[in-house]
């Protein structure tokens, strides 16, 4: 099965003009990124999620579910499409074809949904076996002392 990164890279390879693809969760937390963005990932994720939620709310008030957002900047186009628990955003040059971008987004989302569903079981079993690294007392003390030391 393709990895998430491969799915995102595939969009860049197939659609001329695409410069970057980012997959964020519904709250804007970056899950995976491919290509190039001249912006901090965390900031971008927070902004994209907030924009999406704003348009989603407008749609709710109009009794219309939101499917995607297209934004045109002077030299760039941005296409944001929703998927279960996440948002896929494609950034492309101004001369790129929106039809191709939307089609690739749709295909990618089908693959991403499959990929993320298949890994859910693996993650759950890892967590139940306590192999996931939970913060322990020492980690917490370390974080707090670093903050306290900063102020001294």
């Amino acid at each position: 099965m393709l990895k998430i990164k491969d799915i995102l890279n595939g969009i860049i390879q197939r659609v001329p003009g695409v410069v970057g693809v980012i997959l964020i969760d519904i709250d804007g937390i970056p899950i995976e990124i491919a290509g190039h963005f001249d912006m901090n990932q965390e900031n971008m994720g927070a902004l994209l999620a907030t924009c999406y939620r704003s348009y989603e709310q407008v749609g709710t008030d109009l009794s219309q579910p939101l499917k995607s957002i297209i934004v045109e900047y002077e030299d760039l186009k941005l296409c944001q499409t929703s998927m279960p628990r996440g948002l896929l955003t494609i950034l492309a040059g101004k001369d790129s074809y929106l039809g191709m971008i939307r089609l690739e987004a749709k295909r990618a989302i089908e693959a991403l949904v499959q990929n993320m569903a298949d890994t859910q079981g693996i993650r759950e079993s890892l967590m139940q076996d306590h192999k996931f690294r939970w913060p322990d007392n020492q980690t917490i003390e370390d974080i707090l002392s670093r903050i306290k030391n900063e102020f001294k």
Partner: protein, 195 residues
């Protein structure tokens, strides 16, 4: 709280009336308290109105450890943007309730107490979130004390600090308390509760 890839993401909100000092608090924390090696971004990311107040949010992500990211949002306090404020309350781990301690601001504070109560009904996870009340502007002459304001606003059961976002008084104590609460809550949470 969320887990994405191999990281825990915790969400902390700064909530309170317009001009109560949310952005100033966040700026002080960012400039004076958050260690450089925990900063994910070089500055606070802000979406402001044309007249300089917070339109959507001010945002700072901090990397507390290799796999713990704390995302801090100072929300807009403007009533006009109430509908956008609401969407930040999902999956909240910690909330600083910023109270403007000036007597003339009592009605505005009460409105936000009501709003907070409404969110607690809509978002059940808020019941488990750590809430810390900051009685801000204590440096202003005539500011009311927390032991007076707390019972008037119905916030007396939450841990609280008299603070000044302008000078930073008591903000280190309040912030480390919040971080301690949310990290210990994370440590104690059963694996099956994590989404």
């Amino acid at each position: 709280m969320k887990i994405v890839n191999d990281r825990f993401y915790l969400k902390v909100l700064l909530f309170g009336s317009a001009l109560a000092g949310k952005t100033t608090t966040l700026a002080w924390l960012f400039d004076h308290l958050i260690p450089k090696d925990m900063k994910v971004t070089e500055s606070i990311h802000s979406i402001k109105t044309s007249f300089g107040q917070t339109l959507l949010f001010d945002f700072v992500p901090i990397q507390a450890s290799q796999n713990i990211i704390i995302r801090i949002y100072a929300l807009t306090g403007q009533d006009y943007y109430l509908s956008t404020r609401r969407m930040f309350f999902q999956d909240v781990d910690g909330l600083f309730f910023i109270v403007d301690s000036q007597a003339k601001e009592m009605d505005h504070n009460r409105e936000f107490v009501k709003e907070f109560a409404a969110y607690r009904k809509c978002f059940p996870e808020l019941e488990n979130a750590a809430v810390v009340v900051l009685y801000n502007k204590q440096d202003i002459p005539g500011a009311q004390r927390p032991d007076v304001l707390g019972p008037k606003l119905g916030l007396q059961d939450f841990p609280s600090w008299p603070v000044s976002a302008a000078t930073g008084a008591n903000l280190p104590q309040a912030f480390t308390h919040m971080v301690s609460l949310i990290l210990n809550s994370l440590k104690e949470r059963p694996a099956h509760e994590i989404q």
